[in-house]
Amino acid sequence: MSDEEEDFDKEEFVTLISSDGFKFIISKEIAEVSGTLRNMLGTSFQEAESNRITLHEIDGVLMEKIIQYLHYNFQYKDQVDVPEFDIPTEMALELLVAADFLDV
């Protein structure tokens, strides 16, 4: 792992690492849409200390979609006119499992 993401403000961003090694840097606020990630960042476990979360059961493709959803949810909460969230049909089952895991 390089140090480049260390440049980001630790207070606001978190690095998510997929099972196949992709790194996603997103704001904590958005990550915390997920109950699982919220708890991970909220207690004094390793992840909270290092601001890096490795998700061993989720690959990069799924991760990307999930992060899209996190943004979507964050953006449209408390709004009435919410567009549909689009999911490729073939991904639905895998995504369901990942969503269950992340509590989103």
Partner: protein
């Protein structure tokens, strides 16, 4: 009106129609014949500004209206300009005149030239106009406001309809989105794989709801390790596929089949023969199962059944019940016999106490006839099963009176948690006060349904609530007409309901805003409160955040 008044103020005495200002304006613009115009030309130069501002004074009410007028003016002016192309009069002389009288913007205090589009505003008691920039901004803002108001109205509408459907207006979870997608594309699913039980049940229910649980989709839920199976709509699953349940899920312990009109005699027998661990059977609507099959089934299941719920079939006869009891009665922990028109003799019911010993749940709701179930029957059942019984569902057993409460429930039921007594009109305050007053062996009921128990009033209810206030989670008092405001006022002073989550007070007419406010305060966990038909419940009721009040007239769309 305001316009007309303004006219008079400006010394134009004649009575005019609503467009008088416009015609006056046009006339003075010299739209008439050139001669008249020339005559007026001189005076026009001095009067024009005054006239313009005058026009604006008249239009403080509706911006839109002004725009229409202004558009009309604009249009005619252009026409006139064309018509007078050869005349000495031109727009430039017109605007040159404007320059004489410059204004300061009410908003940004900059000097500007007033035009017909300038917006008139009132600020700090002064009346004036806005510059072009500020006017545009102002118009945009008003548009935004209108849009926001429209959005708010739309949102209210949506909220109201969501409330009616008991949904919360939230962004669907990713899981729900996936499940919905899967349900619509269920034909493309080969296997469900490692998804959670919760998700699996959700998918199964959605399929049932969509009536798309069929021979093929059913197979997705079958699994060799499966112990519990619930299908909420089996009407599209035929006999052959129902049989597959036994082959694919040999470890099944409990099976729940709703709307199982396709369940054949052979299916049931096959369940009994092949599912060796089966101990719980819930069947709703198994009307193809014949009397001999039932009897054979119970014989096969001898001593194995712990839970047996059957409803909505006229073929379940007195003999079937007899067979159930003799073969499986001793171990039954949960028995539900509901809407079974084939059970028509009192003698069949009367033997229940002789076979049942370990009941936790007993449901005898909606018997064929009122007189089939009487106080003595329930008292005898409770005398044997009182030590274990937790749930007692007696909806529609309207032959019951206070007696079974006082002599049965009070005496024998220390662990009773749920009771449902819908439409028991012979139950009165006397029964309730005698039951709950000093019922120390029972530490409180959790779920109580007293819908349409019209014999109950404040006194009985209060004794009951005093007993169970700290344990109640769900309470239905729908159509208990005689409850009065006094009850709620008394409750307000004396009781708190720390766990109460749902409460139905529909058609209890004494419930008003004040009662809602009281309940909102004394039930800190209350989430849903139904007040259908209580027209004194309004929007004004003061309620806690997180409490949904359903059924107020004011909430309808």
């Amino acid at each position: 009106m305001s316009r007309r008044k303004a006219d008079k103020k400006e010394n134009e005495p004649e009575v005019r129609g609503p467009n008088s200002a416009l015609t006056a304006f046009l006339r003075e613009q010299g739209i008439d014949a050139g001669a008249i115009r020339r005559r007026y030309e001189q005076s026009l130069l001095t009067e024009r500004n005054e006239q313009t501002s005058h026009l604006y004074e008249q239009e403080d009410e509706s911006f839109e209206e002004n725009e229409i007028i202004l558009a009309a003016i604009e249009k005619r002016r252009r026409k006139r300009a064309e018509a007078n192309a050869d005349g000495s009069y031109s727009d430039s002389s017109f605007s040159g005149d404007d320059l004489k009288d410059s204004h300061y913007c009410m908003n940004c205090d900059r000097e500007f030239r007033i035009t017909v589009y300038s917006k008139k505003v009132e600020k700090d008691g002064k009346v004036g106009y806005l510059c072009i920039k500020c006017t545009r901004f102002q118009i945009e803002q008003e548009g935004r406001k209108k849009k926001a108001a429209f959005e708010a109205r739309k949102k209210r509408k949506k909220l109201a309809s969501a409330l009616l459907n008991r949904q919360e207006l939230k962004i669907p979870s990713l899981q729900d989105i996936c499940i919905k997608l899967l349900s619509t594309h269920i034909d493309d699913v080969h296997a469900l794989g490692d998804i959670s039980v919760v998700s699996m049940n959700k998918i199964s229910r959605i399929l049932s709801k969509n009536r798309s649980l069929n021979n093929r989709t059913m197979m997705l839920f079958l699994d060799a390790t499966l112990k519990h199976l619930e299908f909420w709509d089996c009407s599209n699953i035929d006999m052959a596929y129902l049989d597959k349940i036994t082959t694919f899920c040999p470890k099944l312990e409990s099976i729940t089949l709703n709307m199982c009109g396709q369940l054949h005699n052979s299916n049931l027998i096959s369940f009994a023969q092949n599912l060796l661990s089966l101990n719980s059977v819930v069947l709703n609507g198994p009307f193809l199962i014949s009397e001999p099959t039932w009897i054979q089934f119970f014989e096969l299941m001898n001593e194995k059944l712990r839970l047996f719920h059957v409803s909505n079939t006229h073929r379940f006869s007195d003999q079937c019940l007899q067979s159930l009891l003799t073969n499986c009665g001793g171990r039954l922990e949960s028995l539900s016999l509901s809407r079974l028109d084939g059970l028509s003799s009192k003698a069949a019911y009367d033997v229940l106490p002789y076979h049942l010993k370990n009941l936790k749940l007993l449901d005898l709701s909606n018997p064929f006839k009122e007189n089939l179930i009487d106080d003595n029957l329930i008292i005898s059942i409770l005398s044997v099963n009182g030590g274990s019984i937790e749930t007692l569902l007696l909806d529609g057993c309207s032959g019951l009176t206070d007696l079974f409460l006082v002599k049965g429930v009070k005496k024998f039921c220390p662990f009773l948690k749920r009771i449902s007594l819908e439409s028991l009109d012979q139950v009165t305050d006397n029964g309730f006060t005698q039951l709950f007053d000093g019922w120390n062996i029972n530490s409180g009921l959790i779920e109580v349904n007293l819908k349409r128990c019209s014999g109950l009033t404040d006194r009985g209810l209060f004794t009951f609530l005093s007993h169970s206030a700290s344990s109640l989670v769900s309470l239905n008092l729908n159509s208990v007409y005689s409850l009065s405001r006094t009850l709620f006022e008394t409750l307000s002073r004396t009781l708190r309901f720390p766990l109460l989550t749902t409460l139905d007070l529909g058609f209890v007419r004494s419930v008003d805003d004040k009662a809602i406010a009281i309940l909102s305060r004394i039930c800190p966990k209350l989430k849903e409160l139904e007040v259908y038909g209580n027209n004194r419940c309004t929007q004004r009721a003061r309620i806690r955040r997180g409490l949904k009040v359903l059924g107020r007239q004011s909430d309808s769309i």
